[in-house]
C-alpha cells in the first residue's frame, strides 16, 4: 500500500510540473511582461534593466526553475489589472469560493444520493419518472441560467433574498466566513443552490444508474434467494456496493464545483476566486490566470489523491493487491 501512495504522489508531482510548465509558458510568451509592467513608452535601457531584474535574460531552464521556486512560495508577481500581489488577491478571495463550493457540495450530495436511491428503487413509478425528467432539465439548464432564474424569482419578484455580494462576514485572521451571520447565510443560499443543481442532477443520475446495475448482480440475486429482507438487500448490500464507485466520481466533482463557481460568482457578483479569474481572462491578466491555474491544479490533484486513498480503504479487494493469495 505504501508503494501505491508513493506512485500516486509521483504522478501528482509530474502533473503539477506539467501545469507549472504551461503556466510558465503563458507568462513568458503570451504578451510581453516587460511592456505590461512598464507600458509602451519605456526606453530600451529601462526595458533592459527590468529584464535583468526579472531575470528574463537568463537561460530557459533557469527561468523555469526560478518560476517554480517562486510558485511554490506562492509568488506570482503583480496582477496586471490591479497592480497588487497576485498571492494576496488570491488569499483574499479564497475563503469565499471555498465556502460556496463546500455548501454547494453538501447540498448536492445530501439531496442527490437519496433521490438517486429513490429513483432506482421505485423505478417505473410516477415519482421516479418525474425525477428523471427533472434531472434531464437540470442537465439542460446552464448554471448561469439557473442563477438568473433564481434571482428573478427570489430577488426581483418575491424580494426574499439578496441577489449579489456576500453580505456580512466575520473575519478570523486572514479567513473570512459568512456562515456565522444570518445576513451572510441569506446571501449564500441562492449562489449555493445554483452551483449545486448541476452536480445534484449528475449525482442523482449516477447513483440511480449504479444502483440499477448492482441490483442486477448475482450476489443480490443470491441474497434474495437466501430470503434476506428488502431493507437488508437494498440498504445493506446494494447501497454499499453502489456508493463505492460513486465516491470516486463525486470526489472529482468537488473539484469541478470549484471551477463552476466561476459562473456562479459572475452571476451573483460573489467576491471569490472565480470572479477574479474571469476578470483576468477578460483583461488578459496573465499572472492571475497562471496563479489560478496552478492553484486549481493543486486542489484537483489533492482531491484525486484523497479520493484514491478513500477508495482504497473502502474496497477490500484493492487492499489485497500485491499480497499473495
Amino acid at each position: 500500500m505504501f508503494v501505491f501512495i508513493l506512485r500516486r504522489l509521483v504522478q501528482a508531482l509530474i502533473v503539477m510540473l506539467a501545469v507549472a510548465f504551461i503556466a510558465f509558458m503563458l507568462f513568458q510568451y503570451v504578451g510581453d511582461p516587460v511592456s505590461n509592467m512598464l507600458g509602451q513608452d519605456a526606453t530600451p535601457e529601462q526595458r533592459a534593466e527590468l529584464r535583468r531584474q526579472l531575470g528574463l535574460d537568463a537561460a530557459f531552464p533557469v527561468q523555469f526553475a526560478h518560476f517554480v521556486a517562486n510558485a511554490v512560495q506562492g509568488d506570482f508577481g503583480l496582477s496586471l489589472r490591479q497592480g497588487r500581489q497576485v498571492s494576496s488577491l488570491i488569499v483574499e478571495r479564497f475563503p469565499a469560493t471555498l465556502e460556496l463550493s463546500l455548501v454547494a457540495a453538501l447540498i448536492a450530495l445530501g439531496a442527490g444520493i437519496p433521490l438517486g436511491v429513490y429513483a432506482a428503487l421505485r423505478r417505473g413509478r410516477f415519482g421516479a419518472q418525474l425525477l428523471m425528467m427533472l434531472s434531464l432539465l437540470g442537465v439542460s439548464l446552464p448554471t448561469f441560467l439557473i442563477g438568473i432564474l433564481l434571482i428573478l424569482v427570489f430577488a426581483v419578484l418575491l424580494k426574499w433574498l439578496p441577489s449579489f455580494g456576500r453580505g456580512d462576514v466575520v473575519a478570523f485572521g486572514p479567513w473570512t466566513t459568512g456562515l456565522l451571520t444570518a445576513d451572510g447565510l441569506r446571501h449564500l443560499l441562492l449562489p449555493a443552490v445554483t452551483l449545486a443543481v448541476f452536480q445534484l442532477t449528475l449525482i442523482m443520475r449516477l447513483v440511480r444508474a449504479e444502483m440499477l446495475e448492482v441490483l442486477r448482480t448475482d450476489y443480490i440475486k443470491f441474497a434474495r434467494a437466501r430470503g434476506l429482507s428488502d431493507r437488508a438487500i437494498y440498504f445493506g448490500h446494494a447501497l454499499k456496493n453502489t456508493l463505492v464507485p460513486v465516491i470516486t466520481i463525486t470526489g472529482l466533482q468537488l473539484g469541478s464545483l470549484i471551477a463552476f463557481s466561476i459562473i456562479t460568482e459572475t452571476v451573483f457578483q460573489w467576491p471569490g476566486m472565480g470572479l477574479l479569474f474571469i476578470q483576468a481572462v477578460q483583461f488578459a491578466d496573465i499572472p492571475v490566470m497562471a496563479a489560478y491555474l496552478c492553484l486549481i491544479s493543486l486542489i484537483f490533484v489533492t482531491i484525486n489523491l484523497a479520493v484514491d486513498l478513500l477508495y482504497f480503504s473502502v474496497d477490500p479487494r484493492l487492499r489485497a493487491e500485491g499480497k499473495a493469495h
Binding site: T217, D218, Y219, K221, F222, A223, R224, A225, R226, G227, L228, S229, D230, A232, G236, H237, K240, N241, V244, V314, D315, P316, R317, A320, H325
Partner: protein, 329 residues
C-alpha cells in the same frame, strides 16, 4: 403422480415471456415431484428450461417472465401464488438456492462471516455470538480449514472451490428442506467438481435436505442423483430412477444423450451425436417437440403432443410407449 409424502410438487407448470414479437412459452406443462431427502437431477441442453424451472420454484423469475399457469406445492401448500413477503420467508428457510458462479454469488465488500451471520439471524433468530458460532460450524462442515480465522476474510481471498463451499454453507445456513442447485460445478475446475458434488451430497444427506440438481453433465447425475428428469425445449421428456433412465432410456432423446457419451472401453473414430438441434422457443414443432430429430418418429408424433406415460420403471413423453401403439404393433 403426487403422493402425500412429496416435499415438492410441480404440476403443469407453464412459464411464459411476453416479448415485443409475441409471447414465448419457456416452460410448457412441466410436472414432477421430489420426495423429502431425495436428490433429483434435472438435465438437458442449454435453453431447455432447467434453470427457469429452478427460478420459478424459488419465486425469482426475471421479469417479464412469469408463471402463466400451473401450481407449485411445498409440503402440500401452494407457493407459486404467495405474496412477496411470505415467499421471502420461505426462501432460505425452507428452500435454499445455489447458483453457478461462486465468484459473483458473494458480495465482495462484506466478509464471509458477515454474510453468513446475516442469513442465520434473519431466519433462525439467534443472537450475534450464537450465530457466529453456528457460522463457524457451517464452514467447518463444508470443509473449510481454519474456519475460525477464515470467517473474517473476504470472498476474493478464497479460491473458486472454497468459495463454492461458502456458497453451500450459506444455502444450508437456515436448514432448508430443499436445495435448488443450478449448475453448481460448471464454473469450477474439473478436479474440484467431484469434491464439491460429493460435499453437496453429504451435507444434504446429513441435514435431510432434498436437492434439485440442475446440470448438463450426465456423469454428475449418474454419480449423485436418485432420480433424474430430462428436459427438452421447455418440456419434460423423461423422468425416472437414475439407473433406469441411464441404462434403459425410454425416450429416444434420452437414448441419444446416453449414446453420445463415449465409453471408456470403446474404440471410436467419430463421436455419436444427435442430428439437428433443439428448436428455439418460438419455433417448436407441433406434436412432440423432438419429432424432427427422432430416429423412431412416426405419424402420430408429428401431430399430437404426448404426455408423460408409464413405461416399466420410468415415465416418458413418447408415443412409442402408449398402450395404443403397443396394440397396433
Amino acid at each position: 403422480m403426487s403422493s402425500p409424502t412429496s416435499l415438492l410438487e410441480v404440476r403443469h407448470l407453464r412459464v411464459e415471456f411476453p416479448t415485443r414479437r409475441g409471447t414465448l412459452l419457456a416452460l410448457d406443462d412441466v410436472s414432477f415431484d421430489i420426495a423429502p431427502g431425495e436428490i433429483l437431477g434435472v438435465v438437458g441442453e442449454s435453453g431447455a428450461g432447467k434453470s427457469l424451472t429452478g427460478a420459478a420454484i424459488i419465486g425469482l423469475l426475471d421479469p417479464p417472465g412469469r408463471i402463466a399457469s400451473g401450481e407449485i406445492l411445498l409440503d402440500g401448500r401452494r407457493i407459486d401464488n404467495l405474496p412477496y413477503e411470505q415467499m421471502r420467508r420461505i426462501r432460505g428457510r425452507q428452500i435454499g438456492a445455489i447458483f453457478q458462479d461462486p465468484l459473483t454469488s458473494l458480495n465482495p465488500l462484506y466478509t464471509v462471516g458477515r454474510q453468513l451471520v446475516e442469513t442465520i439471524t434473519t431466519h433462525l433468530g439467534l443472537g450475534a455470538a450464537q450465530a457466529r458460532r453456528r457460522a463457524i460450524e457451517l464452514l467447518e462442515e463444508t470443509g473449510i480449514p481454519a474456519a475460525g480465522q477464515r470467517i473474517d476474510q473476504y470472498p476474493h481471498q478464497f479460491s473458486g472451490g472454497m468459495r463454492q463451499r461458502v456458497v453451500i454453507a450459506l444455502a444450508l445456513a437456515a436448514n432448508p428442506k430443499l436445495i435448488v442447485a443450478d449448475e453448481p460445478t460448471t464454473a469450477l475446475d474439473v478436479s474440484i467438481q467431484a469434491q464439491i458434488i460429493s460435499l453437496l451430497k453429504r451435507v444434504c444427506r446429513e441435514q435431510g435436505a432434498a436437492v434439485m440438481l440442475v446440470t448438463h453433465d450426465m456423469g454428475v447425475i449418474a454419480e449423485t442423483c436418485d432420480r433424474v428428469a430430462v428436459m427438452y425445449a421447455g418440456r419434460l421428456a423423461e423422468v425416472g430412477p437414475v439407473a433406469e433412465v441411464i441404462h434403459r432410456p425410454a425416450h429416444p432423446y434420452t437414448a441419444g444423450l446416453m449414446g453420445s457419451i463415449p465409453a471408456m472401453d470403446e474404440d471410436r473414430e467419430r463421436l455419436l451425436q444427435i442430428d439437428g438441434s433443439m428448436p428455439r422457443l418460438n419455433a417448436v414443432p407441433p406434436g412432440c417437440a423432438y419429432n424432427p430429430r427422432c430416429p423412431k418418429v412416426f405419424d402420430r408424433c408429428r401431430v399430437e403432443r404426448p404426455d408423460l406415460m408409464e413405461v416399466e420403471g420410468t415415465r416418458a413423453a413418447c408415443w412409442l410407449h402408449s398402450v395404443q401403439t403397443e396394440l397396433v404393433r
